[in-house]
């Protein structure tokens, strides 16, 4: 037991991985702690609830905070008949949507919260069904009441009209609803309504064996499958006080960087295309295809799904392929030079990118922006450098940042991160330790909990899990960085013209699946 600077709370340190601390607080401590976190420059990472009634307790509301010392996971126990907890949205704007999710899934209320509209609950299961209560009936047989209307915030004024888009969009894009209030072409306000893809992932976790559930974690947001399965495995390994062998950690990082490169290549192509440079899409999508084919040869899967498994990685890469990787890195590096040059000097692109969709560093800080988008708005947050674990401790990550917070900045950060990932990948191949790449975990009986925290390509991914006495999954919460960045997109669009929305949206490239769960 110990304390953290500036916080009035006893904490326990969790085993292995990045520094993580565990604490339990009272109702009063919940709000005091939140204020202390703000005062100390900390951030809210995630909020979730769990039903502990089967353990003879009540419910628990959980928060994860990012602090200078590491990650703090704090729980507020609630008596079974006390279904309210103090609102955090006034301190952390991103908390609002997370609290609305907690109400839908567990029926717990954030007392004093301004926005209490349902989020995942669109009226297609009974209003009184809270599927994560352990005694809830959450199977396919529950009635579908046929949907309910949603109260969008009205915007009034002379000449203001609304444009409603979605949930199905014109393109190969995930579904969600956007409500624009506009004057002429100018956007006064954007309101997002998401939750269309909710498919009951958290409830599904409770039916899976802990040694299989990394596959589900890897499908919370398919574009971040490595980050999620890695975070899940880190959580399970810490719960069972075991760890993957060193070679496995290096191969996991190799997969994580390959995932980052693949997504950045895809986004840079799409951003060029949205700004009318079809050439950019053709070039980048070709480079990405080459990259994915090597993924398939290396791991058996183009998108690296199911590669990170509890205890290590699913297969040992072929030695001759490993030896050929630096050549592939060099080829991509060479191909990027002229493309970076074209993107930064092409007048048409610059005209569309610069000053478009701006998030100032101050706004980014106030709203808790995270990941790549935060780095494009002057916040150098990157777990790989901030709280590195092996192999990042050995390699050292140079964090890419920009200050302008516009589309151009998010493009520039992607280019810089591509170069840095290629450097890291060279280091990962060169320094890959010998030894096994997988050691089976020994399941442990007894209640246990663990948490994993990984810097994915989009930002920080968190997985928290609780195991019951019999060693089964009692709760698994997966958190996507998009929770924090979706509200920012609403701000980034204000004052821009409607036709620039697709470009701004793409420059964030947030996950719908990751927040719909």
């Amino acid at each position: 037991m110990g304390t953290l600077r500036g916080l009035h709370l006893e904490v326990a340190t969790l085993a292995a991985g990045p520094p993580r601390f565990r604490a339990h607080g009272s109702r009063d401590a919940w709000s005091v702690l939140a204020r202390d976190v703000v005062a100390n420059g900390g951030r809210l990472v995630s909020l979730w609830a769990s039903d502990r009634r089967p353990l003879g307790e009540g419910y628990a509301v959980n928060a994860a905070y990012a602090l200078a010392e590491g990650l703090l996971w704090v729980s507020l126990p609630l008596a079974a008949d006390q279904q309210g907890y103090p609102d955090l949205a006034a301190l952390f704007p991103a908390a609002s949507r997370l609290q609305r999710m907690m109400r839908d899934l567990h029926g717990l209320e954030a007392l004093g919260a301004e926005d209490t509209r349902p989020r995942l609950q669109h009226g297609h299961w009974p209003a009184d069904l809270h599927p994560l209560r352990h005694d809830a009936r959450a199977d396919a047989g529950v009635a579908d009441p046929g949907g309910e209307a949603y109260a969008f915030v009205p915007v009034r004024g002379e000449g203001v009209h609304e444009i409603a888009v979605g949930p199905v969009h014109a393109g190969i894009i995930e579904p969600g609803h956007f409500r624009f209030s506009v004057v002429g072409e100018k956007v006064l306000r954007l309101e997002e309504r998401l939750g269309y893809k909710h498919k009951g992932i958290a409830a599904r976790f409770e039916t899976l064996a802990p040694l299989d559930a990394h596959r589900l974690a890897g499908r919370v947001s398919g574009d971040s499958t490595v980050a999620y399965s890695y975070a899940y495995c880190m959580a399970l390994e810490s719960a069972w006080r075991q760890s993957a062998p060193p070679r496995a950690e290096w191969l996991r990082a190799l997969a994580l960087e390959r995932e980052r490169v693949a997504n950045h290549l895809g986004d840079l192509g799409a951003l060029g295309n949205d700004a009318a440079l079809g050439f950019g899409l053709a070039q980048f999508s070709r480079l990405k295809e080459d990259w994915l084919r090597v993924n398939a040869a290396l791991t058996g899967h183009r998108l690296l799904m199911d590669y990170v498994v509890p205890g290590g990685v699913a297969r040992e890469p072929d030695a001759s392929l490993l030896a050929a990787l630096p050549g592939q890195h060099a080829a991509l590096r060479d191909a990027l030079v002229p493309l970076a040059d074209i993107y930064s000097s092409h007048a048409g692109l610059q005209d569309r990118f610069v000053t478009t969709g701006r998030v100032t560093p101050a706004l980014a800080g106030a709203l808790g922006l995270t990941g790549l988008a935060a780095r494009a708005s002057g916040h150098a947050v990157d777990l790989r450098a901030w709280h590195p674990t092996p192999p990042y401790t050995a390699l050292g990550v140079r964090v890419a940042t920009e200050r302008n917070g516009d589309v151009a900045a998010r493009v520039a950060v992607r280019f810089a991160e591509l170069t840095e990932s290629l450097r890291l990948l060279d280091g990962l191949v060169a320094g890959l330790p010998d030894g096994p790449s997988h050691l089976p975990l020994a399941p442990r009986a007894g209640c246990a909990e663990g948490i994993g925290w990984i810097e994915g390509w989009r930002g920080e991914v968190l997985v928290a899990l609780e195991l019951d006495d019999a060693g089964a999954l009692r709760r698994c919460h997966c958190h996507d960085p998009s929770w924090h960045n979706w509200p920012l997109l609403e701000h980034a669009v204000m004052g821009n013209i409607v036709p620039d929305f697709p470009l701004i949206n793409k420059s964030f490239n947030l996950s719908y699946a990751g927040v719909d769960l």
Partner: protein, 175 residues
């Protein structure tokens, strides 16, 4: 401009031969093109609908649009509205919250209204299955012509599935 041209020249033509396995008749792009014309009388227009995927299937559908697969060259294009589509490419298990939107998209699609279910989730519910939130496979909601298993299926499998669906449409008699 000059730099762009130079890059284009350096890259050359990367399009690969289209798939032949399982497509006894079509062994080159010209034949695939001819088959599409024979069955539809025009280029094939596809509308993609994500009914609740993890977004992995979308990544591979995007990949299908890269120069290696030369989709436009085969006479296949993605369109923005179901009203202009011959074929719906549906991914994901059908989330209950998406069921109405999926049905509406289907209703807005003119004949031949082909439906291709892409990925394990769309084929049989996949890892998500059926629950209070999820209707499972696409066939639980819409008539499905062709299923393409895989999690996600690689682009080449998606292309084969699309061509299989097109061949389901009775060939048009010569005009």
């Amino acid at each position: 401009m000059l730099r762009i041209l130079r890059q284009i020249l350096r890259t050359g033509v990367v399009s690969e031969a289209p798939p032949t396995e399982g497509l006894a008749l079509e062994d080159d792009s010209e034949r695939i093109q001819r088959a599409i014309l024979a069955h539809l009388g025009r280029a094939l227009a596809i509308r993609e609908v994500d009914a609740g995927s993890c977004n992995g299937c979308e990544l591979e559908i995007h990949a299908l649009n890269n120069p290696y697969y030369n989709l436009e060259g085969l006479g296949i294009r993605f369109v923005a509205s179901p009203r202009h589509a011959d074929l719906l490419l549906v991914t994901g298990p059908v989330a209950r919250n998406m069921e109405v939107a999926l049905r509406r998209t289907y209703e807005a699609t003119p004949d031949p209204k082909l439906v291709v279910a892409v990925g394990d989730c769309a084929c049989d519910g996949g890892i998500f299955g059926e629950s209070y939130a999820c209707r499972g496979r696409v066939a639980n909601v819409l008539p499905v012509d062709v299923t393409i298993p895989g999690c996600p299926p690689p682009p080449i499998e998606i292309l084969k599935g699309i061509l299989t669906a097109v061949r389901r449409v009775p060939a048009r008699t010569a005009r």
